[in-house]
Symmetry: C2
Subunit: 215 residues, 2 copies
């Protein structure tokens, strides 16, 4: 078991990627891998990999490489992939629908137990076997159900109001899909998803590649 020490958020944010690659290696029945091979697969430098993985105790052995399953297990423990989280979706629009239908989440420990919206035409509809309820019911729902995470896919002009509301009801985690970088001073943990950021990087890389071709 890995020694408990503070791992930087920069490293933590890279762990899900290691986790995915290691899980692929396990599927391929690969038992051990050098930082060089892992580097080639993941397109990260080998020195970055060694640095990241040394952070929590150095699983690698000189001349042997990493034991894939051990590394996978340790990263799983750090990330807490064996934990389960109860989630609700607020906003039953397209993005809410997409999230409710995403198979991967349940497999990773995130169970979507309810969907809420304020629109009459949404309330009562069923998305992936979950009935959409009116936001008015949320306080009552929270009394009878434990909820860890609210996934917010509401319009940008509603995000602050909805985020305040769900945290006042005691929800500790928010997964925010609005373009606003949500920050709450009440200790709520927020992860913001910024799809445009990724698209802008793609645009940059395309522009660079064009310019290089024209030289």
């Amino acid at each position: 078991m890995v020694e408990e020490k503070k791992i930087s958020m920069a490293v933590i944010r890279r762990l899900p990627r290691y986790f995915r690659y290691l899980s692929d290696l396990i599927k391929l029945d690969i038992k051990r891998i050098s930082s060089k091979e892992l580097s080639e697969r993941m397109h990260i430098t080998a020195s970055q990999i060694r640095q990241d993985l040394n952070c929590f105790g150095g699983f690698g052995q000189q001349g042997y490489g990493y034991n894939v399953e051990y590394l996978y297990d340790e990263i799983s423990k750090i990330l807490g992939t064996n934990k389960r989280f109860s989630c609700i979706i607020v906003g039953a629009g397209n993005m809410g629908n997409a999230l409710a239908n995403y198979e991967n989440f349940a497999r990773r420990g995130f169970d979507i137990i309810a969907i809420f919206d304020v629109k009459k035409e949404k309330v009562g509809t069923v998305i992936n076997n979950i009935k959409v309820m009116h936001m008015d019911i949320l306080p009552e729902f929270i009394k009878t159900h434990h909820v860890d995470i609210a996934m917010l896919t509401v319009p940008n002009n509603k995000i602050n109001e909805v985020a305040t509301q769900v945290t006042e009801l005691g929800i500790k985690g928010i997964w925010n899909f609005s373009p606003t970088d949500l920050r709450l001073d009440n200790g709520t943990i927020v992860e913001n998803v910024h799809l445009s950021d990724s698209l802008m990087v793609l645009g940059y890389r395309l522009k660079e590649s064009r310019e290089n071709h024209n030289h």
Copy 2:
């Protein structure tokens, strides 16, 4: 104008975030900002900010801070936010719908000009004023329309086939929403979106916060 030099991808990936924060500062009519103030707003260390922004020529002045508008303009130029990119969506499911309805993309220079799917019940429907066409029409469409980016929201078991198909038709950029880390050896530029990664980080942070409370 910034001197042309190679900026690392790690820095590039952080630029959209600076871009968003600077655009907010401009809206608030803030003319200049110190790395310390920017650090507090963005929750990045001031030294990281100085390092990042020094990469492309150091816009900051001792005792004055950064000129917000100048910095915004320079980052815009680097990212190429004044460029326009023609995009198609392949896969008219929930995620495809969500992307087609995302207002921000057009504002950032990404125009969605067509949507494709293979399912009979999708073809002919209209999403945000764009008619969904059958994938069979794609080759003909590409002959008459310039397309920079294919946004792929197809099922995971179709992703390799579809990615190969669109790149063989000459599309140079792929925005991939399938869980597979797509890599193509034909020079295509790919950005993979991994929503689960962000959710796993949220799970980690919730777990940590619980454990700290229990100590």
